[in-house]
Symmetry: C2
Subunit: 466 residues, 2 copies
């Protein structure tokens, strides 16, 4: 391995077991779950067990001029964790200890490799809750959630990951260890470096510890489904719920394509004749039924064909399960549409102001027709954050081109409606051009200036975001 | 005015009326409400009416190498708005229009000079609420609130200003106009520049427009007071309320010094024999009485002598009014303690993890005794954010020195308890040294690197924060 003296150096620092160079194993670390994104082959994957080991890796990578790509569970959907050729991949999943849970200060301190569901389970034992719940929560890590500022279904009431990050320990490109933020509920000491790192997708530093805010355990939750004759009326219902001052704890939309895909995947008695379905919940305990009745009234006033309240927690859980099956069901639909293993999904992510949701849904329908590709829409309606899922045939370049065109037209539509090119999946490789378009030349220059200030040689996750 | 060709240039760009050089008027723009902070005399005060005029001012200041100090209503308590000699003061209060209120997307777009109370009143007309409520809310501006990431009494349940800032328009030191953030509920397009500017105290750019998130109008609120025989038991009650998973909408503490000062200032029947009083509220409408009963039980279990629930909204408002009188009452106490206009307050601001509140309160008592200065403590107990108010004699250097020593010892104590040197008042000039100590040399270097990246010549608010 004369070509890579860094390897011997890494082995000396971390031990052989933490330094992976077997080509078969390296292949497993090439990419996250994003489609349409390039992925390289790393020179080496290291699995540090401490901040000191992360420092050792970053310093050696800097010395040899080898780029560093941090990875969590690689469940991301924008290619932010994809390897670049010849890089050191920092696989953070071995740093998976919950260091502290403090019910009085309502904080937890965790290593970045802790899985979201594991933290949720541990804090639940103490009557607490860590709200952020990305779709990947059963496998994704807190470090990855923080690096991408992950969203989820609870955001409509409880906000996204960044609202829960109080402080970080970060290894900088210089190898220095920076501590940001605090353990207190409030604090304004200096620039908000914590939130600068949240969502920066590993381009500014490697997160090695996270202090998160916790909340009391949620109260009992009730839910309903409302069935709509058109996506426009479903979108109007979302606006009406907001206009009436209501705050559901969950407000999700499934369009007909998704309803049919889910029902085909696992029959649940969903109304597949509906154009769209809204799934809403209220987690206000003894008031949940009353709150849900107000949401039901807003849906009815907006033209819902039928509103059906779950009568108990079991039924409510079944409704949530239908929503959680959206992704695998659509994968199955894609596979059936284009057999031979060539059918796939291009998962998009766009957010518009709540009042523009109906226009977004209408527009996506027109784009699907114009581009000649099936597009199902699912997502966090209460936040105006939709995931148009484009069904493509990977074996047919013309079809794939049409899928890409639809993808671009959806972004264009979202921006034209005052929205953003990514509500929760991030920029990574997938949306670099769209980011530049959204934030404009001044925004790009400021991004570049901050990147250069913190990582002047471009060591960390090169090519991502910018 | 040959010494200052910039003046003619500013007059040409903004018109004579917006360019103030009368020395009597300039004196009024020298400082905010912070004590112990140096203030210079500006060369000129300009009152821009548009983003274009702010750009014109910043470009001219850059051309002539004259520093720029942005100011809102100058209600700050850390000297962040203090002029430096020869500076251009950008007084933003003439940019005071509410540009948009959208009840469906629950956002408002405002110019920076809009007064917090004016925005609150306007959104209330549409059944909405802008939660951040700093003590200065009747006079301070949204731009100033954003620049300092202002807190307030609602934070214990609703969080601080930064939680409500979705997007900004900022004039950079280069004179370029940067737009950050979005109008959507969620968004992860690029670095969180919005929150980098929030709390940066005018050192990174001049805020010219703010997009804020709104909430539905609050429900009916009920409140109680709990009277404690010691500050330690009051601190324990705060911890117990958190440990029981309760979420008051307000949880404030007044110590005996404050109770006596308020009662002397305006008799309200407060228990001046108490060591401390907790004021708590629940804004959960039909459940408020039940929620308040749980808070009352936690107080009783922690050793409260008496818990007294307000029986109606009028009584609840009177309790809140007592809290709001804390500051003027203490000013009066200081004036009476050291007559001749020499008595004053040094207002401190420290936050600790909630569980350390009792230790902080005990420690402040010991510091007051050791330094031989009266210190009253008031603040946002539910957040662990306390304001020790040190009574000093400005005419007596030895007394003032003892006050400064007490101030430093309180900071030291706060940091030793895992806290921060400023919970909500900011760094400004007052706490630059303490910021450096809190964030350490790596943190300082990162701050400097970001400042240099955005303002390489140090044009904007020089000497503040760093």
């Amino acid at each position: 391995m004369a070509a890579a003296p860094i390897l011997a150096d890494l082995r000396a620092a971390l031990g052989d077991a933490a330094v992976i160079t077997d080509p078969d194993l390296l292949r497993g670390y090439r990419r996250d779950e994003a489609d349409l994104c390039a992925a390289g082959t790393p020179l080496v994957v290291v699995r540090p067990r401490s901040t000191e080991e992360v420092v050792a890796v970053v310093r050696r990578a800097a010395r040899y001029g080898v780029p560093v790509v941090p990875q969590g569970a690689r469940t991301g959907l924008a290619g932010a964790a994809n390897a670049v050729d010849g890089a050191v991949v920092l696989a953070m999943t071995a740093m998976d200890r919950i260091l502290e849970i403090d019910p009085v200060s309502r904080i937890a301190v965790v290593q970045p490799g802790v899985v979201n569901a594991a933290l949720a389970a541990e804090v639940a034992k103490q009557g607490l809750r860590y709200p952020p719940d990305p779709g990947s929560w059963e496998s994704s890590t807190i470090g990855g959630n923080v690096a991408t500022n992950a969203g989820g279904m609870c955001c409509v009431k409880y906000g996204v990951t960044t609202e829960y990050v109080l402080g970080l320990e970060v290894v900088l490109a210089s190898g220095e260890v920076l501590r940001t933020g605090r353990r207190t509920a409030k604090g304004v000491a200096g620039y908000d470096l914590t939130r600068l790192f949240v969502g920066s997708e590993g381009t500014l530093g490697v997160i090695t510890e996270v202090t998160v805010a916790l909340r009391p355990a949620p109260e009992e939750s009730l839910s309903l489904v409302a069935v709509f004759p058109s996506t426009a009326t479903a979108g109007s219902a979302v606006a009406e719920i907001a206009a009436r001052g209501l705050t559901p704890s969950l407000l999700e939309l499934l369009d007909r394509t998704h309803l049919r895909a889910i029902e085909a995947y696992q029959p649940m008695g969903l109304r597949t004749d509906a154009a769209a379905l809204l799934l809403a919940a209220a987690d206000t305990g003894s008031r949940a039924a009353d709150d849900l009745a107000l949401i039901a009234a807003a849906c009815a006033a907006s033209g819902a064909d039928e509103v059906y309240a779950a009568t108990d927690a079991v039924e409510a859980a079944a409704l949530l399960q239908a929503r959680r099956l959206a992704h695998p069901a659509m994968e199955r639909l894609a596979a059936q549409t284009y057999p031979g293993g060539n059918g796939g999904l291009v998962i998009d992510d766009v957010a518009v102001p709540r009042g523009a949701l109906a226009a977004l849904l209408d527009g996506v329908t027109r784009i699907a027709e114009r581009c000649g590709v099936p597009i199902g829409v699912v997502g966090h309606a209460g936040d105006g954050n939709m995931h148009p899922n484009i069904v493509v045939d990977r074996a047919d370049p013309a079809n794939l081109d049409r899928g890409r065109r639809a993808f671009d037209e959806i972004m264009e539509l979202g921006l034209s409606l005052g929205g953003t090119c990514t509500g929760e999946h991030g920029v990574g490789l997938l949306k670099r051009d769209w980011l530049a378009r959204e934030i404009g030349p001044v925004g790009v220059r400021v991004h570049q200036a901050i990147k250069a200030a913190l990582d002047p040689t471009g060591l960390l996750n090169p090519g991502k975001v910018l």
